[in-house]
Amino acid sequence: MKRPPVQQDMALQITSMADIFMILLVFLLKSYSSSVSTLSASGSISLPSSQAGGLAKETLKLEIFSEGISIDQKPIVPLRHFAFDPKEVPPPGTGRSESLYRVLVEQRKHLPEPNLDSNLLLFADQNVPYSTLQSVLASAASAGFVDLQLVVVKEE
């Protein structure tokens, strides 16, 4: 037996939907502001993961990825598969990179407290070899950046 169709006016309750959206928006805006804005790596970096770690201090940001090194998002030195050009860092490739050193010295002058701030926020790809890291650290140490903040992805 077929039931006759019931004539009903369907009204979408958008008031409750607005409430849900409001809560979602507040939550997203809060999480957006609390995730430290400076801690955002370039897409091409695969950061190492770690269970330990603390909060970062806002300071100069140095990134090491497969194709180069950048400071505060500006490319400084090109790399070839994480390795320095032999002209930039002579073999065995563990010494100081002059280009990087000069930029770091210049950047240091623009810090709020150039003589006191020795922190450097390091975003390095997990596949960076120690030889490249050593050159970067040698350049950073020469420019006065001796306190490193190694950025990692926190494992839950």
Partner: protein
Amino acid sequence: MSSVDSGSGQDFDLNIAPIIDCFTVLITYLLVSASFLSLSVLEAGVAASGEMAPPVAEPAKPPEPPLTLEIFMKQSGEYNIKVTGGRQNLNWSIPIKNRVALSAQIRGIVRRLPKLKEANLSAEPTLHYNEMIKIIEDLKPIIPKVFIAGV
């Protein structure tokens, strides 16, 4: 909520459809741009060699050589620990097979030498950065200050 009766006796409805539209756009933008990765930092120092500062005054007796712990990481997953200096002028060199044994060994060394507060980490040139991060993570609860050899 949407109907308001003003004092003049006029009824008007608040049109919340455009608000919903704005919310939808905002939420979509925030969801797309939000990073759901939680990033944190591990603190380390750069160990760089250089000339020592001259002594301010002539010491009465020769100063105690500083107690240092050096960890050398090999590509094979093995390690070599070197402990030097201190009052007894130590010169230990300990080969270690794996990461678990390394943590246990360093724990034992720190128990025997409570003055040891720093570790210096170096590695073979081809060793990857994530391997160093794992060791720094292991060392952090045992030794307060970890340095990466930069020169």
